[in-house]
């Protein structure tokens, strides 16, 4: 068990059901009773195949989607009661970065920075800092529609760091990227974590990425958590050589 003052996220019996269609509604039980505790300052990875429920869980934690059942506390605050308080302290970077296409990189960062209450010199400094870190300062005057996929991804990461969040959600941050760019992004994530120690929740279906970044891992499939622990602990428990084998063993 984790001590309460060190818990960043506490999830109890979380359910999410989607109903699609009007006349013959299709019911999708996306999350089926998730229980999870995530420590402050750790990199926690949600691993699972497409459609497992990783992104749904992340969307709920980032307050973009309301759950149907269950309790969630972030930094010991009930998410249903302290929405704006929590929103100021978290941010999200998704693997399919989308921003208004006619805005330039600078305008995008400036706009979202202001939504987080930053302004003036402070905002300019933050933009400069994260553009430097993510190597996008040469693209500041380029419109979003003109950027390559890798640059879009780095911009999305820069935007998610602007408010220096205590809780950072990274939803498949390297999906679809070339291996060299993906590695660069993983290294940047490591650097950010070592400097500010935010709690990072990462979703991916790349086992190598999880192994490189995560301190703890949860395997999720069909809306249920199959196993949870440190990468080493999980490998030992299932007598596996790597996380891929752990996953195959779990879904047997």
């Amino acid at each position: 068990m984790i001590w309460n003052n060190q818990v960043a996220i506490e999830i109890e019996n979380l359910h999410k059901i989607f109903k699609r269609g009007l006349f013959r509604p299709q019911v999708i039980h996306a999350l089926k009773g998730i229980n999870l505790k995530i420590k402050k300052g750790e990199i926690f990875c949600l691993l699972g195949p497409n459609g497992a429920g990783k992104t749904t869980l992340l969307n709920i934690l980032s307050l973009l989607l309301y759950p149907d059942k269950g309790k969630i506390k972030i930094f010991n605050q009930d998410i249903s009661k302290k929405e704006n308080f929590l929103k100021a302290r978290l941010n999200l970077c998704s693997g399919n970065p989308n921003f208004p296409w006619t805005l330039t990189v600078y305008e995008i960062l400036n706009f979202y920075g202001k939504l987080y209450g930053l302004r003036g010199k402070k905002l300019k400094k933050r933009i400069a800092k994260y553009c430097e870190l993510l190597e996008i300062k040469n693209f500041l005057n380029r419109r979003f529609e003109e950027l390559s996929t890798g640059t879009k991804q780095r911009l999305a990461l820069a935007k998610s760091l602007l408010n220096e969040p205590e809780l950072l959600f990274l939803d498949e941050p390297t999906a679809g990227l070339d291996p060299d760019i993906a590695l660069k992004i993983r290294n940047i994530i490591k650097k950010i974590h070592s400097e500010k120690k935010p709690t990072i929740i990462l979703t991916t279906h790349y086992m190598a990425e999880a192994e490189m970044l995560a301190e703890r891992i949860a395997f999720i499939k069909d809306g249920e958590i199959l196993a949870e622990g440190t990468p080493q602990g999980l490998k030992e428990k299932l007598s596996a050589n790597n996380l891929e084998e752990v996953f195959l063993e779990l879904v047997k």
Binding site: P100, T102, F111, L115
Partner: protein, 259 residues
């Protein structure tokens, strides 16, 4: 201060969108001027008197100003939906009010531009005249309040029914204008439509403005009804929009709009 900062950010974003879009130019100049000349020339052909011409040209001006103003309010969601970035907006600690007001500010600026273009053109080509500063100011404020209400209505439809409801950004205003008596007094309507027209604040703002062209209407307390209804609908729309946002978060519509 953060509230103001966010409101200004939304205004600035809409301004950039407007500045870089060819359609924005068409919305401000092309469509309103085409409308003005087609109606104005028809008035000349039918030999309308000066007050009659004032009556219908005030309808043309109302249409141009209202259309552009409500579009800006609707654009606050539409630009995000077209860019699939709406989740980033609602991920931040921002509320629907900042979003609406910020976009509305740009709508007011664009609406004033349309107003000047149409009024000056009407004065030059159709011998139109404005009744004075105060009636004109009240009429403009009325148009902007109605623009905000219609824009919020469009946003409600988008949040509830998704992107397929974006057509309301161009159609809802036309329905409202038809019911409010854009080129005619609402007294000519059958009882049910007249009842609906009386629920629209724009009806009273148009009637108020047209009294200065020598027309009289059956309605009493025009401005009280106009501002009272506008205030009620603005408040009601804000409440309904907040509810619609909660439902969109519950049903996953907000996420779907970002995919």
């Amino acid at each position: 201060m953060n509230w103001l900062n966010r409101t200004i950010s939304f205004a600035y974003r809409n301004y950039i969108f407007a500045k870089r879009s060819f359609f924005s130019f068409a919305e401000i100049i092309f469509w309103p001027v085409v409308g003005l000349f087609s109606i104005g020339l028809m008035g000349n052909f039918l030999k309308f008197t000066k007050p009659q011409l004032g009556f219908i040209l005030s309808g043309v001006i109302a249409m141009g100003v209202l259309q552009v103003n409500q579009l800006d309010v609707a654009y606050c969601l539409l630009f995000d939906i077209w860019g699939k970035s709406i989740k980033h907006t609602f991920l931040s600690p921002t509320g629907i009010t900042e979003l609406m007001i910020g976009s509305w500010i740009v709508g007011i600026i664009r609406g004033i531009l349309v107003f000047f273009i149409l009024t000056i053109s009407s004065c030059i080509f159709f011998d139109f005249y404005l009744p004075g500063f105060m009636p004109t100011l009240i009429f403009l404020i009325g148009l902007f309040l109605n623009g905000l209400i219609i824009g919020m209505g469009v946003c409600y439809f988008i949040l509830t029914f998704g992107q397929r409801a974006e057509v309301t950004a161009w159609s809802l205003v036309i329905v409202v204008l038809l019911l409010a008596g854009i080129y005619y007094p609402v007294e000519i309507f059958p009882p049910f439509l007249r009842y609906l027209a009386n629920l629209i604040p724009l009806t009273y703002f148009l009637e108020y403005f047209r009294t200065f062209y020598g027309f009289s209407f059956n309605s009493k307390f025009l401005l009280l009804k106009a501002f009272g209804l506008s205030f009620l609908y603005t408040l009601g729309c804000l409440i309904i929009l907040n509810i619609a946002l909660r439902i969109a978060k519950k049903k996953g519509t907000l996420i779907k709009l970002s995919e």
